[in-house]
Assembly symmetry: C2
Homo-oligomer: 185 residues x 2
DNA sequence: GCTCTATTTTGATATATATCTAATTAGATG
DNA sequence: CATCTAATTAGATATATATCAAAATAGAGC
């Protein structure tokens, strides 16, 4: 469902959303450091630091080299920059909830307010009303011109209060009118 | 203890380290949206979404305007950019663990291995040995030249195995030697 | 091979928090 | 003013996870 990017970025945020881990990254920003050294700096036990380093390593933000039995960790800046840059890009973010899902809400509204082709009532909330209006304007052909009578007839098939809906369609700039003639915008 | 920046950035990461909240941000990236709308999009109950929006609002990543009883939320991109940019800056990160704290480890090592001026033993780990050596080289005056006998005497005051330590000091390039004469680098 | 030290793994515990339902608040409408 | 709807708050629960102590692992040096 969610894009690959998504879980990648989510892991990135999860990795850095802990006080100790963020401090570790801070400490590694100036210098590579051993587990014990980090433990002293942050006033934590070695196993705790080891646990955090494992998480950071998993998402590729740090890497390690051994020197005897001591493991010396360092930041992987390329990864850091890559991910931070991605956070800045809105295009990437928009894919977090996919477009297919994106009109789930509209479909729900249509389902809620229609019985077949018949509109049960005109939604009070502007956002919901807009969904209905966008559906309604689809009943008109693009380019074709309609008299007010024709417009009323088309809307009237779906709801008795064609006057209100007609006015709303104009107001929402979905229909245009000039000297008694209507057309889709 | 930690800088103002630090808690700010930590909150930022915490805010975005949840799957639902990241999806909300994604959904808001393309459009402002009501609570109900987000709830449908993410398949969550309204209170849950409300809870997440409150958290995002707290760190300033989203803001809200009312339209009747419906609350319409939108991203605050300036905040988003500001914080993401800050993540990229290493200078800021280095302040996460302050410098005062930064030599805590060295002081601990010195405390662990010295009894007064007397070195209990030579640390096996290279990183710890280096701390001792840097302390030791401070016993020599910068610029002054020493015979090997003098060097041995100075080191010998702190540990019997002056030969090993002398060799280590050279090896670590803290002391230099030429034709039997030693000096601080 | 034994010992020492640095790290990691395991297991336990306590805290944080995401989610839900139910109750409450607050606008809007008749 | 009663009612309806959208949102929030309160309360409950279950899951996740940060932390530590103890045990296991793995190099280094004797």
């Amino acid at each position: 469902m969610a894009s690959v990017e998504f879980s990648r970025i989510l892991s990135f945020f999860k990795a850095l959303s802990d006080e100790s881990r963020l401090k570790i990254v801070g400490a590694l920003a100036s210098n590579e450091r051993s587990v014990e050294e980090l433990a002293t700096l942050l006033d934590l036990r070695a196993p705790t630091v080891s646990h955090h380093l494992a998480k950071l390593k998993e998402v590729g933000l740090v890497d390690m080299r051994s020197e005897g039995t001591t493991h010396i960790y360092h930041l992987v800046m390329s990864e850091m920059r890559l991910l931070a840059k991605r956070v800045l890009s809105l295009d990437a973010m928009e894919t977090f909830t996919e477009d297919v899902v994106a009109d789930a809400w509209e479909r729900k509204i249509l389902g809620d307010f229609f019985v077949g082709q018949r509109l049960k009532e005109i939604p009070a909330s502007r956002k919901k009303r807009e969904v209905i209006l966008r559906w309604l304007v689809e009943r008109f052909s693009a380019g074709k011109r309609y008299t007010e009578k024709e417009v009323n007839a088309i809307i009237g098939k779906h709801h008795p209060d064609f006057a209100t809906l007609r006015r709303e369609l104009i107001c929402a700039k979905l229909l245009a009118r000039e000297s008694g003639i209507y057309w889709r915008t």
